[in-house]
């Protein structure tokens, strides 16, 4: 069991895009050679902002709900496991269902693989591999009390997708006034966004003098 007070915190604002997490994930003993997480540039042309993507371990996991073979199990301590080899039929329903883009179908073994928060490590008192190596603190693992004391952001576990609210075990660090992360699709549609650009780099051309 993972200690009940140990939680996973994600803060992309700290991420430097180094991919240490991605590479270290592939070093975990249970799936050595295959990384179960990934890291993406939000929009490299605009910014160096990167986002590490680990499984959010939803309270009511869409991946497991969509699985026709009942191959995705959730442990009593809230970890949504990778697919069971004996059950997974490689249909990729879970890949399509996940709102965070986490599960990956691995053709080589005809099976879905995804992050299980390093259950072999976390259930024995260690931190997940990706968190342990992360040099920026974008990935953190510990108690809520510790993180709230150390950081200026607050952890959020509610994600709004249209009419649906997804609650997760993994916490996203957000500005103090935030209560949920609202992913308005309009922000992702070219020309439709009214949102202000907040990154410094968005203003770089204007900052540069003659």
């Amino acid at each position: 069991m993972i200690d009940a007070d140990q939680e996973f915190f994600l803060d992309p604002s700290r991420c430097i895009g180094c991919q240490a997490c991605f590479h270290a994930c592939a070093e975990c003993d249970t799936h050595r050679g295959t990384s179960m997480i990934h890291l993406e540039y939000a929009d490299r042309a605009e910014s160096v902002q990167t986002v590490p993507v680990v499984c959010m371990h939803c309270d009511d996991p869409a991946c497991a709900n969509a699985c026709p073979a009942d191959a995705i199990k959730k442990t009593a301590d809230g970890i949504v496991q990778s697919s069971l080899q004996s059950r997974c039929i490689g249909c990729s329903n879970c890949v399509l269902a996940c709102p965070f883009g986490v599960p990956k179908y691995v053709a080589k073994i005809d099976q879905m693989m995804k992050c299980d928060q390093c259950y072999d490590r976390t259930s024995t008192g260690k931190r997940p591999m990706c968190v342990t190596v992360c040099p920026s603190g974008a990935l953190a693992f510990g108690t809520r009390e510790e993180i709230e004391k150390k950081r200026r952001e607050r952890p959020i576990d509610a994600f709004v997708f249209g009419p649906q609210i997804v609650h997760t075990k993994v916490q996203m660090m957000m500005p103090l006034h935030a209560t949920a992360l609202d992913l308005d699709l309009a922000d992702l549609v070219e020309g439709a966004s009214n949102g202000p650009k907040t990154g410094l780099e968005g203003r770089l051309p204007d900052l540069v003098g003659r």
């Binding site: 604002s13 700290r14 991420c15 430097i16 895009g17 180094c18 991919q19 240490a20 991605f22 590479h23 270290a24 592939a26 070093e27 003993d29 050595r32 050679g33 490299r44 042309a45 605009e46 910014s47 160096v48 902002q49 990167t50 931190r127 591999m129 342990t132 190596v133 992360c134 040099p135 920026s136 603190g137 150390k150 950081r151 200026r152 990154g199 410094l200 780099e201 968005g202 770089l204 051309p205 900052l207 540069v208 003098g209 003659r210």
Partner: protein, 714 residues
Amino acid sequence: MYGPHLNETPAGGWSTAGEADKLVKTHCCFCGVQCGIQLKVKDNQVVGFEPWEEFPVNRGMLCPKGVKRYLQGGHPDRLLTPLIRTESGFRPESWEKSIDLVAERIRRIQEKYGRDSFAVISGASLTNEKAYLMGKFARVALKTKNIDYNGRLCMVAAGAASRKAFGVDRAANPWSDLPLAKCIIIAGSNIGECFPILTDYIWRARDNGAKIIVIDPRATPIGRTADLLLPVKPGRDSALMNGILHVCIEKGWIDRDFIMKSTNGYDAVRATVANYTPARTAEITGVPAALIERAAEYWGTAATAMLVHARGIEHHTKGVENCLTCINLCLATGKIGKPGSGYAMITGQGNGQGGREHGQRCNQLPSGRDIENPEHRRLVAERWGVPESELPGAGLASTEMMEAIHKGEIKGLLSICINPVVSLPDAAYTRAALEKLEFFGVIDFFMSETARHADVVLPGSLQEEDEGTITTAEGRVVLTKQAVTPPGEAREDWRIICDLARKFAPWDKFPYQCPEDIFRELRTVSRGGPIDYYGITYDRIEKEHGVFWPCPEVTHPGTPRLYEGGTFHHPDGKARFHAVEYRPPAEDVDAEYPVILTSGRVVSQYLSGTQTRRIGPLVQQYPEPLVEMHPKMAASVGVRTGEQVTVTSRRGSVTLACQVVKTIRPDTIFIPYHWAGEKSANRLTIRALDPISKIPEFKVCAVRVEKASGGPRP
């Protein structure tokens, strides 16, 4: 047949997981942070790693280079026997005959052209023991004055500035001071990619309320969320720092008591920076005046503040001057020698700090002693048991050696731990020089692009195949352990050097049985010197997770923070200001070459790439150099992301894919330099040196950018 080939899987395959014979607590071989790491060893092969969470600097954190470094174990390109160049390529040879051949060729060249006609060129990824040994080998065995190292390409400008200002060359504060600072200026350091672990220290400072100011022509990962990004035009750093100090003085944000009690030379600096008004500074640097004023306010009004810098301000023909203007700001505001207040150059190479301390530099004897200082010469000669008159004087810097080869002054060369074909500016000039040599010997573990020019290649050791101390960028002396023995007939570097040395010098001058023997001698020689290691032992290092020099006695705790109480290392105990007038780079843009080229690193590669270009997952992360350019420039060139552009300077040209990003100044392009041959950024860079430190101007030269003809290349 020598690669670079990509190693994708651990020695013995992925199934070696979990069954390691042992875990060895040691350090990463890449960069001056020297993160602690545990290497997994099975059947005398490094097959993986486990984080080492007890080591206090990185507490288990690693960057991708650290995570994947173990893939050098069992690498197919590993050199396993000595090799001799023949008409039809390299052939294997025995150690005995190879060492004899190298010794015979050295002797022949020295007899024919004089002792100094044979040069030794070494590197700052070597341990302290090897750095010490290389200096002694050159001066006592070969008796040549020409020994220098690749630190000339690294932080030597910062070292020279610190010696001038403080009287000693070391980061003034430990990293643990960073989170205590209320303002941090990061000048020319892409911390997120070059020293990823330090990001955590910067973010912790920010958590504690610090203002972070980043000075960089690019919005790097650390710049992205800084409070202030000053997008300086490459080559204008000294003007910018003068401008910030100007505002601090105008507003009275200076520490008069500290200036009076602990420094010399302030008045000249005040008079000089008086001319660097925000408006004029903005005109020179391309940074808006309002941002310069705000930076000064953040720094000047902060209770504590630290300034850190790296190659971005050091790789210039005024590298020393750039660093001195940073030091002037720290001194004038009294931000030095206190918890959370101070100054650090972030040394780049694995042993960039120790590599410049122990006598492998052309102008330096061990422990930072000066080769031209009669007292220092007498003392070292006495401890080495050689007549002072036989110690050579100052030799040529490594960056000057290629010119000396072209001129015929240097006829033979032995190199270790350096790949100048990739790392020196103006690569064509370097290649031509190596082909002119009458003899070229190389010690390396892979066939680097430089080793291909050698007459003899001796297979040395990877970091994990040898033991020895490293001094990290914060001045902490740590111990790297031998996890495995060298494969095949490869040998530990120190054994190779000792074998060669004994062909020229009596056995008792090189009597070492192990690296610790060398360290014991190094400690003794350093005793009472500017860089005192006497109190540091292997035992203490292991027990204390490293010891900071100076450490004059075994009972001394070591010195993490320098200059406490405003006491500096010059004879009068005071720090020295240096007035610096801005001067332009060696090659400015003009109508023919209208674009500024700056070069640097990416997170997945290390230096000339001899190691990291052979590690599959790191190569996949960033396979080839890209030309970063702003959309405005891309529009004028007529290219989009992914299209090929040809970049041409007065030295040569390269054709590479471009990456169009808003994260760079519109007047500047960036190319990372880790690659060889046709993809080498150093085909373009200029062979112009800082007059004091001899560091090349990698960070600014003039180029022209055109859409490549002939469509996309494979």
